[in-house]
Structure formats: C-alpha cells, structure tokens
Symmetry: C2
Subunit: 305 residues, 2 copies
C-alpha cells in the first residue's frame, strides 16, 4: 500500500503497521491487503466490486477491519460490502474511510454496506470518515448502510465525521425483527462551505424491538447540514430519535425527524435542538483562563465526545 | 338564517340568538347577517367571495365573530377573509366553521384567511371546527391561514377540531417581524376513518421574534393524522414546536416537525411524542370507581384541555 493509505489508516482505524485478525484494506478501488480469520471469512465478490464478510455463528468478541482509502483526485470508488453475521456472534466491525484529494478533480468514495444479522448476534459497527490533502478537488464520501436485524439481535452503529469531507450524503436504513435493538450514534462536524446530509430510516417491525438514534453535530463557516430521520412503529415497540446541533458563524442546520405510529403499542419520541454555544459556558471557561477560541474548542469537544 | 345554521353557531361560537358587536355570518356561501361596530368595519369583497375586516388602530379588547356554516350536502363553499389589524389594536376573532351533511354528497368549506397585523397589535384568533349531520356525504373543512405579524405584535391562534370532520387539510403560515410573538395551540381529535393533515410554516425573520407551536391530538378508530411544522430561524430569534399524540385502536399518526437555523442566533427546539394512554393512568382512575371507557374519556379530556 502507498504512504497516503498508511496515513489515512492511522486516522480512520488506529492502524499502527498491521491489523490483528481479519481485515480487508481497500486502496483506490483495489485490494491492498486481506486476511481472514478462523471465524471471519472475507471473500471478494465476483459480480461487482466489494467483499462478502461471513462471521461464523457463536464468534466471540472478534474485530474485523475493512478500511477504504481514496488516495488521489479523479478517483470515484464504488464498493459493495455485505456482512453475514451468524447466530449469537459478537463482533466489532471497524469501517473507516479516508479520501485524499491532491488535484483539481474530486476524490470520491461510495460505500454500500448491507448487514444480515443473525438471531441473538451482537454487532458494533464503527465508521470514521475523514478527508485530507492539499488539492482543490472535493473530498466526497457517500455511505449507504442497510441493516436487517434478526430476532434478539443488537446493533450499535457509531459514525464520526469530524473533518475534511466536503460533501457527504449518508443514508442508513434498518429493519428490526422481534426484540432486536438498534443504537445509532452520529457525530458530525462541518466547516468551510461543506455540505452534509444524513438520512435514517428505521422500521420497527418486530414485537418489542427498539431503536435509539442520536445525532450530534457542529456546523461552522458557511457549511450546511440536513438531518432526517424516519422512525416507523409497526407493532409493539419503542423508538427515540434526537438531533442536537451547534451552529456557528454563518452555517445553517435543518433537522427533520419524522415519527409514524402505525400501531397502538408503538411508543415514539423525538427531540431536536439547534442553537449556538451558550454564552455562560464560554464565560465560565474563560474565567478559568482559556481564550475564547480555546473555550469554544473545549465545549465542542465535550459536545461531540 | 336556517335552523341548522343556528345549531352550528351554538356549537362553534357560543351563539345564543345574537352576537354582541361586529359579526358576519356566512351560510352556504351567502351572508346571513352582518354588522360592523365603530372600530371594526366589515365590507364584502367585490372581486371574489369573502369579506375585508378592518380593525381600527387602538381598538381595545373587542371581539368580532365570523362563523361560516355549510348546512347541507353538495355545497362546496370557498371564502376569502382578509383582516387588517390597526396598530396597537387588541382584538379577539372567533372564526368557527361547521359543516352539516344530510345527503350522499360532500359538504365542504374552504376558508382562506389572511392577517395583516399592525405594529404592537394583539390578536386572539379562535377557530372551532365541527361536522354534523346524518348524511353519508363527507364533511370537509380545509382552512388556510396566512399571517403577517408586524413589529412588536402578538398573535395567538387557538384551533380546535374535536368531532365529525371527515377530512381536513389545515395549512397555516406566518412571517414574523421584529419582536413579534406567535403562539399556536392546536387540538385535534379524529375518529372512524377520518383523515387530518396539519401544516405549519413559520418564518422567524425579525430580530428577537419568537414562536411557540403546540399540537395535541388524539387518533381513534382507523383514522390517520399527519402533523408537519417548519420553523425557520433567519435571524436572532427563538422557536419551539411540539407535537403530542395519543394513538388508539388502529389509528396512525405521523409527526414531521422541521427546524432550520439559518442564523447563528436562532435557537430552535422541537419535541414530539406518540403513544397510547399509559396503563397506570387508566388503572389509577379505575380504582377510583370509573369504568375503563370513563377513565379513557377523562384522560383524553385532560390531554386536550
């Protein structure tokens, strides 16, 4: 793999020269390294770009890394990654994505991920996105995630995009079977003239399933953010959606969380708040000796932690 | 006026044989009574159906009644009512609407209301909607309200639709100048196979203006409700939107409150909750001697009060 991939891997997946266990490193649309483990088997697709990841039933606390890097401008990467999580498996998936633009053309990654999560399985899905490089071309990351949560399964999706991505269109959909539980935590920061759109669609279709979707974002500069979520309660279930945003400078933020209860026993809640950093918070930190910029940084760090 | 109008007036505007002060009674598209007062002048439009209501500057605590009734099937009423509220006036507008279907055809009222609210004026706008009659035709009420709130003005819009309206499409939009304050309270109950759509669009465009939009609804039977609100904060302002719904039987409810902050000093919040009546509340009232039906009725009454 090239030096930029190595740098990006450090930023998106705590890479320190090697991965333990199963991994697949994607570099500019090709494979820069792949390893299966006893329980986690990675095979390339034959009909389209991407891989299938099979996690054996009963796998206990293993981690698989599937970072994807675009290392220069004028690359538009498209990949399909399909996860088949066996019954009762417990697995962490680290799926960072880094794009590096060095010229006038865009560097783009489109990652389409699907999850078939078996009965009683437990999945932690970590997605860290970053854009770097001195080029004027846009750094674009468009992730699509489609999850099918089997009975009694659990999925936690933790996504972070803090810096450097000029444009992102994030679409996540999930369908939950009986007693499945979905937790989504999104952290997003945009600056300059960046644009970010987020769209969550959650179908609460199995009895006693539940979902908890929380997005926290900071919009600086003249950046624009649109957050959408749709929770549909189709049976006895519970759903919670929350969107909190800090607005700075001349940025704009929209929050459009949609709840639909199609069943008497669906209990759905959402909350959203958009505002600037509270003056009192700033003053408090400044009386402790921080400059205004340092105080702002501290508050944002705490908000996105 | 006919007997059905008289009955409807009692239901929608506490009519007891006469109105005090200014009023205009609309019956099946015609005028069934009109009176101006010294400060409130009502004149029929010449270019389209409807009236202009001019409230003189400085008018103190007067009330004007403008009920509209559709008394039989196969009427599709359309009316434009424009309000010009003078500077510093303080006025209450009672604008109920009742539709009575006695045959197979629909009885429909489309009321389009616009408000030009002068500097420092105070308006309370009460809108009570009801459908009655033994006919199989639909009872339809589609109100459109467009309000322009001048500097330092105050508008409170209190709308209630509790019973008998088969289909309603309610659209309200407001634009607020500096230091204007808008309060909206909506109460809605649907039953049978009724459908209700509500749409609020509020532009917070003047410095230090504010809006507080609260909708409470109960959906019974197989009825469907869709609540939408859009608050746009375009300057230093604050906005709050809330939608709480009780779902019963096989009804469905969607809540789609949209917040957009286009300015650093816009502070926007929304909340929504959809769920059934809490079991503990029912049990508590039943231990006090109420039947399950009585307990439900009591809880709904309290919720919509």
């Amino acid at each position: 793999m090239n030096a930029i991939t190595e740098k990006l891997l450090g930023l998106i997946s705590d890479f320190t020269g090697s991965f333990k266990g199963a991994y697949n490193i994607r570099e500019d649309g090709s494979c820069a390294g792949r390893q299966s483990s006893e329980n986690i088997v990675i095979t390339p697709k034959t009909d389209k770009p991407g891989i299938d990841i099979h996690v054996a039933p009963g796998t206990a606390e293993e981690t698989v890394y599937i970072p994807a890097c675009v290392t220069h401008s004028d690359v538009e990467d498209l990949v399909y990654n399909d996860f088949y999580i066996g019954e009762g498996a417990d697995v962490t998936i680290v799926a960072g994505c880094g794009v590096h633009a060095d010229g006038e053309e865009a560097a783009t990654h489109n990652g389409i991920h699907s999850f078939m999560i078996g009965k009683g399985a437990k999945v932690r899905y970590l997605e860290r996105h970053i854009g770097i490089g001195e080029g004027t071309g846009k750094r674009i990351i468009n992730p699509v995630t489609e999850a099918h949560l089997g009975e009694d399964s659990y999925m936690e999706m933790d996504t972070t995009q803090i810096e450097g991505v000029d444009s992102t269109d994030r679409r996540t959909s999930a369908t939950l079977a009986a007693r499945a539980h979905l937790v989504i935590r999104e952290k997003l920061m945009t600056h300059g003239s960046q644009a970010a759109a987020t769209d969550f669609v959650v179908n609460l279709s199995g009895e006693d399933c539940s979902a908890d979707v929380v997005s926290r974002s900071v919009a600086k500069g003249t950046s624009r953010q649109v957050f959408r979520s749709q929770l549909s309660g189709n049976t006895r279930c519970s759903g919670h959606s929350e969107c909190d945003a800090i607005i700075m400078d001349r940025a704009s933020v929209s929050a459009i969380p949609e709840l639909t209860a199609n069943h008497l026993d669906a209990a759905l809640i959402h909350e959203a708040a958009i505002g600037k950093i509270a003056g009192e918070q700033l003053i408090k930190l400044m009386t402790l000796g921080l400059s205004e910029q340092e105080a702002e940084r501290k508050i944002i760090e705490g908000f996105l932690k």
